[in-house]
């Protein structure tokens, strides 16, 4: 594409196929304790 560069694809949509195992880290346990960000956590399956 000339006008648009795609940085990342439909990762959320793709994640539906194989999601919800729940083995990932609890967001609040890492560093924040007051201001929640979930998107910076990693998936344990990947």
């Amino acid at each position: 594409m000339k006008h648009i560069k795609t940085l990342s694809g439909p990762t959320l949509k793709d994640s539906v196929k194989n999601c919800g195992c729940g083995e990932c880290q609890t967001s609040c346990q890492s560093a924040c304790k007051t201001s929640c960000t979930v998107a910076n956590q990693s998936c344990q399956k990947k």
């Binding site: 959320l12 609890t26 346990q29 304790k33 979930v38 910076n40 990693s42 990947k46």
Partner: protein, 447 residues
């Protein structure tokens, strides 16, 4: 739904429902203002004063192509697709309040300087063991379980920490569990013997320091009023180095009294720390140091300047991680995780020195949120369900927000503290979160 924003000359477009992120040139970025409202011909006419007609037409075609592939304007398929809230919740993480006492009297402490509004007590090893038993029982088939030793100041009761960890490890194989431990400390009591134990058994350590000496000591002082910076900086550096600058965070809080907090983050980076988290205070209104709406423009500027310096240092080979700028666009959490958020009140709970169970550390002491006690084997599932059902779809204000799948509806405790309702997000927190996310996305376009 899309979100478009410009930062340092880069045009970034987020497709909220698919998770796609794109960088647009000027023409295509401008077209988005009219796309879905006007026809292709009308858009070409509208922008022909500014751009070449052929180029506009070409850019519209590219947007059409992405929309067709649902990489733009993707519909929200998750609400009906995920029967998430019908599942029985399991508990996978506990915040163990090993000490409700502290050797600091931090002005902004949400735990009322360590006692959480109660008496200054320590958790006994026996109650800690009961908490482990409770976690194992409530965790179902989940294998990875987390324990965070929290306070107050956990090093004031470190012998109990060791006994509880030994106990968890002694039964982990029997129950097929993999425990991961975190300890949060102000480092005042950190000594060689503790360091060795922590490095051997505890996967993550959160070290509290606010940044520059004057910033730190303004808020983080001892019972006698003297600041803590000089006593902790060396110890914190030492343990961070001993962990090869990994698997730890230096964790600070900024308040209205240091709105120039980027200088505090950079001070920590200049001191050699590679894992940094500095976050806005959550303080009651009118304490004097609470963040107010009028502070937002300055804070936005601070985040932008920090992002700029973050990229610069990374390119110079002197980068560091800033917790809220970290975002994994390819391997981040799945949609189920993004809907359920931090898990407070259902997957993640806090246990006090007396064994009382609360939705998270920030609810401790609020009697109406007490969920049971690990010693009495009592646990109120209706309260657990209330938290489980709180998600981006149950929060009206989140439905129209582009950041909902990144922050997952925000912090329930903040929402309750400010709006008396876990489903009514804390607005200032939302605005700061959105700004941090924009910076994080911009950083992804640069490095």
């Amino acid at each position: 739904m899309i979100h478009k924003f410009k930062m340092f000359g880069t045009n970034i477009v987020v497709d909220v429902n698919s998770g796609s992120v794109h960088v647009f040139d000027e023409i295509s970025f401008d077209i988005l203002d009219f796309y879905e409202k006007l026809s292709k011909e009308q858009i070409v006419d509208k922008l022909s004063d500014k751009y070449d007609r052929e180029e506009i037409s070409e850019a519209v075609d590219e947007i059409n192509d992405l929309a067709k592939k649902e990489l733009l304007y993707c519909p929200d398929i998750y609400k009906d697709y995920m029967p998430l809230w019908d599942k029985k919740s399991v508990v996978k993480a506990l915040c163990i309040h090993i000490s409700h006492d502290c050797n600091l009297r931090c002005k902004y402490c949400f735990a009322s300087t360590g006692d959480f509004g109660g008496s200054r007590t320590m958790m006994s090893p026996e109650i800690g063991k009961k908490a482990i038993d409770f976690l194992i029982k409530e965790s179902g088939s989940r294998r990875n379980l987390e324990l965070d030793f929290f306070g107050g100041e956990p090093l004031m009761n470190f012998d109990a920490v060791k006994i509880i960890i030994d106990y968890a490890l002694s039964i982990s194989e029997k129950y097929n569990k993999n425990f991961k431990f975190t300890i949060t400390t102000n480092a005042l009591l950190l000594k060689e013997e503790y360091k060795e134990y922590i490095n051997k058994h505890i996967q993550n350590i959160v070290l509290s320091i606010d940044g520059r000496e004057e910033t730190n000591d303004r808020m983080r002082y001892r019972v006698d009023g003297t600041g803590s910076y000089k006593d902790i900086i060396g110890k914190i550096k030492d343990i961070a180095d001993s962990r090869n600058q990994d698997n730890y965070y230096v964790r600070g809080t900024f308040t209205r009294e240091n709105l120039d907090f980027s200088k505090d983050v950079l001070h920590l980076a200049d001191e050699g720390f590679k894992q940094i988290s500095v976050e806005p205070v959550v303080a009651a209104k009118d304490t004097g140091y609470d963040i107010r709406e009028e502070d937002l423009p300055q804070l936005f500027k601070e985040y932008e300047e920090l992002a700029h310096e973050y990229v610069k240092r990374d390119k110079e080979g002197n980068g560091f991680n800033f917790f809220h700028f970290m975002i994994d666009l390819d391997q981040g959490p799945c949609i189920a995780k993004r809907l359920s958020g931090c898990g407070s009140g259902h997957e993640y709970l806090s246990v006090t020195p007396d064994g009382d169970i609360y939705p998270c550390h920030q609810f401790v002491g609020m009697e109406e949120f007490k969920m049971g006690n690990v010693c009495e084997d009592s646990f109120e599932r209706n309260k657990q369900n209330t938290f489980m059902k709180s998600n981006v779809y149950s929060k009206e204000e989140c439905s129209a927000c582009w950041a909902k799948f990144y922050c997952s509806g925000g912090c329930a405790a903040n929402a309750y503290q400010f709006n008396n309702d876990i489903n009514l997000p804390y607005k200032i927190g939302c605005e700061l979160e959105k700004k941090r996310l924009e910076c994080a996305l911009w950083i992804k376009t640069q490095i």
